[in-house]
């Protein structure tokens, strides 16, 4: 019995040591798969939808005014102001509105951006054309790309797999923490499943 306990302790020590070392090595951006010991990946910020709606409407007006000043003046593609989602408090955007955004000239100018919150494999297999990948769990690797366009964007559509996937909500929270205005954040709840099921265009690779 004592010998067995010794064996268990030794195996746990060896396993833990290897795990700690491997995780430290994976912190190198070239080797992905690092997990932080202390970061709460599942933290949920509850925005107050009632208060937020007011702010959001004001902000949306500002956003509309801003788009009027842009050369495209593409008001017709402005997604309708959506009520904040009762659970997470972010605005949701319907599939048809996301499709309409693709043809918006602002999208070509990176004023409307799509943020794909899925992992590398899923992104490479297919994504919304022009989408920027930003995996919530490896955010430090994508934050530079994201922050190149996100602060100036009028609309940021965030999506993940759809269905039970919560990564897009976490990504919206990350964007909030990075200082992005909540009024420009739109959650595409249908996500990749809905996009793939429709006849909308798909881009593959990076």
């Amino acid at each position: 019995m004592i010998r067995m306990l010794k064996e268990i302790v030794l195996l746990v020590i060896v396993g833990t040591t290897l795990a700690v070392l491997a995780n430290a090595v994976r912190a190198n951006p070239a080797i992905k798969g690092h997990l932080s010991w202390g970061r709460n990946y599942f933290k949920k910020i509850t925005l107050n939808p009632s208060n937020k709606n007011n702010d959001m409407q004001i902000n949306m007006q500002t956003s509309v005014e801003k788009s009027l000043k842009t050369p495209s003046n593409s008001l017709k593609s402005q997604p309708p102001i959506q009520p904040a989602h009762p659970e997470h408090g972010f605005q949701v955007i319907a599939h048809k509105d996301v499709v309409a955004l693709l043809d918006d000239p602002n999208t070509q100018a990176y004023l409307n951006i799509f943020v794909d919150a899925r992992n590398d494999d899923a992104f490479e297999k297919g994504h919304i054309p022009g989408a920027i990948q930003a995996d919530h769990y490896q955010l430090e690797m994508y934050v530079d790309d994201l922050m190149q366009f996100a602060p100036a964007a009028d609309k940021i559509v965030v999506y993940c797999n759809g269905g039970e996937c919560e990564d897009s909500i976490f990504m919206c929270q990350d964007l909030l923490e990075l200082g992005i205005d909540p009024s420009v954040l739109f959650l595409y709840e249908g996500g990749w499943k809905a996009w793939e099921a429709s006849s909308a265009p798909i881009e593959t690779g990076r």
Binding site: R3, E7, L11, G15, A19, V20, W37, R39, Y41, Q138
Partner: protein, 207 residues
Amino acid sequence: MHLLKPVVNDTIGIDDMISWFDQKRLSLASVMRIYLGGYFIYAGINKIIDPVGFLKAIHLYNLLPENPSFFLNGTAIILPWLEIVCGIALLIGWYVRGAATIMAMMLCVFTPAIFLRSLAVMQEQGINFFAVEFDCGCGTGAEVIWFKLCKNFGLFTLAVITALSRSRYFAIEGWLCKRAAASGTCSIAATSSHKSTTTKAAVDPTR
């Protein structure tokens, strides 16, 4: 004069049969040990390849608190490596009892958790228990859960048999035991030879 040669009884005696069955039983236990080791190495590697997927899966079980996140993240970081270390230990036959016990304990924790999660999924989706399918984070992708539970029960049985077995065929412990036999400190079966050279020396009091 050759008729006077003594008659040799070449029929198989009961002792030979017991020895043969004993040998087979011990060999089977070693096969189980090697299978179990290989399975856990495979599952561990798959979890290491996708640590985020594993983290999400164990988060869904609600076994560990989100805050402080050290426990949840630490489990996702350490468990796959522990599986691999235990898998290698079983495969090479080194610290077999400890490794098999760790695996049995892991299965004891995760199998009921998978069952409870499957009940929740069943309720959420309004489907039959036998139709419930999800990625349990076991390193084997999305699976039909009733089958996964049966498989886990089988693995648990294998782990218990391995932990209790004296068999050390094709094992470092067996090889060391053969060397230690002379000093009389080994009580485990330590040979792969069909002819019984099984070492059953004095019982080691620590075992």
